[in-house]
Amino acid sequence: MSGDKARDAVGDYRYGFHDPENATIRFDKGLSEKVVRDISELKGEPEWMTSIRVKAYHRFMEMPMPTWGNCDMLNQIDFDSVTYFLRSSKGTENNWDEVPEDIKNTFDRLGIPDAEQKWLGGVTAQYESEAVYHSIREDLEEQGVLFLDMDSGLKQYPEIVKKYFCSVVPASDNKFSALNTAVWSGGSFIYVPKGVHVEMPVQAYFRINAKNMGQFERTLIIADEGSSIHYVEGCTAPTYSTESLHSAVVELIAMDGAKIRYSTVQNWSANVYNLVTKRGVAHSNATIEWVDGNIGSKLTMKYPAVLLRGEGAHAEVISVAYAGKGQHQDAGAKVHHLAPNTTSNILSKSISKNGGRSSYRGMLQVSPKAHSCRSKVVCDALMLDADSQSDTYPTMEVGNSSADLEHEASVSKVSNNQLFYLMSRGHSEEEAMGMIVNGFFEPFTRELPMEYAVELNRLLELEMEGAIG
């Protein structure tokens, strides 16, 4: 027993099925200013949004590709072969029975309606470019909580959107935030009024079904003073031989004393480019937590960020990445301490297997005026075989000497002694590997709602089984 059998195993992707493509509106492939204007016009947007989009489009065209991450893979993206807008349903329903049958079936298979009944405060289900289903619990609505898909958010609350849109992630932040700003569609819009605590998590589920699809959702969450919310998102796509592109932008604003937790279990199929910009601003004594899991995709480049702008604000980033065959997870965290007495914890864990590559890319910045800040960064990598790769790119920019910073990093392998120990207790090699892997991710998993945690554990166990039989 060398561990080779388990380590060679290639997991089956359970969500790789696809439905017939029944588009009601599908744009021709490729991107131009006309495409951008057409999207805006189709949605009946105000002029100022059209103008933001068009400017962003030109920025996108001018900006170079990022020079980090995986340049080879990035340069393989053929922007002309992407479908930038696809409407698959007449509108956003608030009753599952009204959702087109095949789309409803998809979400049934993904367990969304079931989860909604059991443990969620609200649900948005996005299929291709737009939300096909949306609901919020009445009690939350009565308390003034706004939870809409982003297109409806813009229609109904244009003044709020105008104030905060691009305020945290400017269009020109990077090439992909510019792209998203130009062609965004769907995503979530949330506003939590002062002092309101949303006890049950609200969830968005993103599904790409069509080939060569580009999904560009845009999410904006504003938690007013002293309020709190937990937002959960999941994503899957069919397995095609051609690539799809997912490029989202998420902006969070936590006002004084507010708390936003944003949890993600990203499980795109291995043909999806996942290039996402996520950033939040935390005002005085506010907390922003990113709980970010990356299991799927071909290439993920994502570094959830927090700007600690108010005194006493806190950032928590827990991320895990699993890179299997042909996958590169380039993930990490960025925290900017811009005010005194701000604190942050970053925990990053990655697993590489079957030649997969995971990279931690982190930025920790303390501005000269931000005295008495504390931060702890821990990066752990677990390698399941010798073909796989793990690398770490931490950056620290510390502008004053009063900061208390810790950084720990480790790279480990599954030892034969650990496998032997578990096998001597009756577990097959695959089961033993599954236990070790789940244990390694446990600090992440325990932060997820239980239903997600169970699903994630099952997913990883399947990844360890794979090629048997």
Binding site: M1, S2, S415, N416, N417, Q418, F420, Y421, L422, M423, S424, R425, G426, H427, S428, E429, E431, A432, M435, I436, N438, G439, F440, F441, E442, P443
Partner: protein, 246 residues
């Protein structure tokens, strides 16, 4: 011969190309406790690991049978499911895996169809933990992660009791234990003895005062050089090993 739990015949074992066990034969019957004593490096732990099937221990010749079935075709987990148990000298830690979850999964893996219901399992677990003087907070900790030596040994014995093996191999389970912990270990061994055979590897006589072995074997340089009854342990304690060397 229906009572034969383990039989080893002419066993040779190498680690990294170096021969450690150089021709060893031994038979353990149901209800018997065998002790193996010897200095560090005499091959005691190698024997235990080779019986359980550690991949680093290569059997170059000879045969091991468990209840009449040759072990060479059985994977480690199949040996466990068939009723073999090894209490490790240095149990591995499995960070992130809670003791409670691990025990439940192990019991259902090893006992299969005969595994207790969730409720009976909890009852059984509670009983054993009380007997071993283990607080229930143990169940929420990660397997062997940050455990003291005594805690690790207690967890090994707890697993032995829950998995209820037919052959128990105990590799220096007594080392580094205080007298209370030693009693816990010996009570554990004594309680499974009526339905199991045990092989107790130890340096010290004090455990053998509590478990009363039927046979004591002295191992030197990969071979059993002398076999006696429980009195041999006392003799070794008094005289050391030099008088047995060729």
């Amino acid at each position: 011969m229906g009572d034969e739990v383990l039989s080893i015949d002419g066993l040779h074992v190498s680690v990294d190309g170096t021969e450690i066990i150089k021709g060893l034969s031994l038979t353990i019957n149901l209800g018997e406790i065998h002790a193996i004593m010897g200095r560090n490096g005499s091959g005691k732990s190698t024997l235990a690991n080779a019986i359980m099937g550690h991949p680093a221990y290569e059997i170059t010749s000879g045969e091991i049978k468990f209840r009449g079935t040759p072990l060479d075709e059985m994977e480690v987990f199949e040996r466990a499911r068939a009723g073999m148990f090894l209490s490790f000298q240095y149990p591995s830690s499995i960070p992130g895996v809670q003791v409670g979850t691990f025990l439940r999964k192990s019991v259902s893996a090893v006992r299969g169809e005969n595994a207790p219901s969730a409720r009976d399992f909890r009852k059984e677990l509670k009983g054993h933990m009380e007997a071993l003087g283990m607080d229930k907070s143990f169940l929420g900790r990660y397997v062997n992660d940050g455990f003291s030596g005594g805690e690790k040994k207690r967890l090994e014995i707890l697993q032995m009791l829950l998995l209820n093996p037919c052959l128990a191999l105990l590799d220096e389970t007594d080392s580094g234990l205080d007298i209370d912990a030693l009693r816990v270990v010996s009570d554990g061994i004594n309680s499974i003895t009526p339905t199991a055979g045990s092989l107790v590897i130890t340096h010290y006589e004090r455990l053998l005062e509590l478990v009363k072995p039927d046979f004591v074997h002295v191992m030197i340089d990969g071979r059993i050089v002398k076999t006696g009854n429980a009195d041999l342990a006392g003799e070794l304690e008094a005289k050391g090993y030099d008088w047995l060397e060729a």
